[in-house]
Amino acid sequence: MAIRERKARTGAIPEGGMADIAFLLLVFFLVTTTIDMDKGLGIILPAEGQELEINKKNILNCLISSSGAVLLGGEPVELKDLSRRVQEELRENDKLIVSVKAHEKAQYDVYIEVLDQLKLAKATRISIAETE
């Protein structure tokens, strides 16, 4: 019986598979990270104690009732007509400030819709009045 000679062991770690392992890690991280960019309507709130007196002629009141109806300058308007109406008003007076005032029981999505319509009408001066 022949005694086979033991193979000489080398202490090297095989690095051929290293690239594969690193690739796997890379793919794992790429797949598990979800890139959810937040989007939304931006607005700058007025600083505390910075209330200005504004000529009444330059204010356009936009009221939101508890049932979700919208009043623009005292008249009821449909939401989809709002941007057109505000645009008309802005054409007459470019210093116009739109003051949005919502009833405290009004729903948030109506308010967002109103802000969206105002942005659509390119009304840059929007004031958020406190709820009543």
């Binding site: 690193a22 690739f23 709130l45 967002i112 969206d116």
Partner: protein, 137 residues
Amino acid sequence: MKFRRKSGVESKISTSSMPDIIFMLLIFFMVTTVLREYSGLPVSLPKAERIEKLESKRHTSDIWVSKDGLISIEDKLFNNDDVRHIMYEKRAADPQLTVSLKADQSARMEVISGVHNELRKADALKLNYSTKVKVPN
């Protein structure tokens, strides 16, 4: 005169530095991605057309408002009057702070208005109403 035979040029690309390159890529991706920190409250966001992207996730702080009027910041529930303290601290730590308000579409305006007032008191004035994209028809 002896001519030496030309040695055959090896046309193999060296793969020994491949793991290093891939590790570099891996580290790059790990550093640049910001993971979602908080799970928040379950809300169904309203939809809007004229939306803008938030500039940077690092300078954004979220406030969740559920349809029952609960206010959550960093997965803790707050009363309306306590919002100003935590937001003031955040604002002091990061002057570029933008607040992202993730409110449910059927939330009441009294809660939203309360948050407005608190943010004004905390001097965190850059606000973003988080919405979904509405396809214009």
